[in-house]
Amino acid sequence: MKMQHIEGQNKGKVVLFALSTCGWCKKTRELIEDLDADYEYVYVDLTKGEEREEVVEMVKKWNPQLSFPTLVINDDKTIVGFKEEEIKEALG
């Protein structure tokens, strides 16, 4: 599965599962970039076939509801939805 990498300061491993059409996902990306954190993201709605299955299983592992945005920090902490304060606290 191909992740897009956005460069920034190293604040741990930051992975964002998002949808290309979703307003809250866009706000989440903007916030992470304002906080200048290095991160990887994937637009799950643009994946197909096996790649889609693979990424869906991965998201479900962190967030069984399969909702977006799902932000995973250091393969440990999951933040579901555009939770501004929580994201700032984790990446600020």
């Binding site: 949808l19 290309s20 059409t21 979703c22 307003g23 809250w24 996902c25 866009k26 637009y43 799950v44 709605d45 643009l46 869906v56 069984p64 509801q65 399969l66 909702s67 977006f68 579901v80 939805g81 555009f82 939770k83």
Partner: protein
């Protein structure tokens, strides 16, 4: 980034006017942040081109209409989310309290059941009822009820198509 033709500004603008007029005539409100709202409406137009139906832009569509009927905008979850959180899941529709600034718009929890739960719900629905002269149909978007042999082609209240109705009684 994606292979689909993005709708142009004019297309988004006329869709915005239509959705806004429909919302207001039914007592609903669109988010007053026009830029955010138009971005969501543009995404719905992208989904219409991509899937053939206007799936919710903030949820993962399957690409199969029958599996996604509940998340075609306006989705089945808009009304309960307006009651509980003053906004729909995307923040496209908001309550009067948010419109007036009394409440602040924020990202809300997902209430759509998981795929497994949705399948269970479907299979538990086959039960039918009693000695009514007509079955009763319910619009899953706005709750409109009618007793007739089949649901109407278009909901007279919220204008969604007949496939958004389910047998209620």
């Amino acid at each position: 980034m994606n292979n689909f033709d993005e709708p142009d500004e004019q297309e988004v603008d006329s869709f915005y006017k239509k959705v806004k007029a429909d919302a207001e005539s039914g007592g609903y409100h669109l988010n007053s942040d026009v830029e955010f709202t138009k971005e969501l409406l543009k995404s719905i137009l992208i989904n219409k081109k991509r899937y053939g139906y206007g799936a919710c832009p903030c949820r993962l569509a399957s690409g199969t209409k029958e599996e996604d009927l509940d998340l075609i905008c306006p989705c089945d979850y808009r009304d309960p989310d307006l009651v509980d959180y003053d906004a729909c899941y995307c923040g496209l529709y908001v309550s009067g309290k948010i419109l007036s600034g009394e409440r602040k718009l924020q990202s809300i929890p997902e209430r759509r059941p998981t795929e497994e739960e949705r399948k269970q719900h479907q299979s538990s629905q086959s039960e039918t009822f009693k000695n009514l002269s007509k079955p009763v149909w319910r619009c899953n978007v706005c709750g409109y009820l009618c007793a007739r042999d089949a649901p109407p082609e278009v909901c007279p209240i919220c204008k969604v198509s007949s496939d958004r109705f389910e047998r209620f009684i």
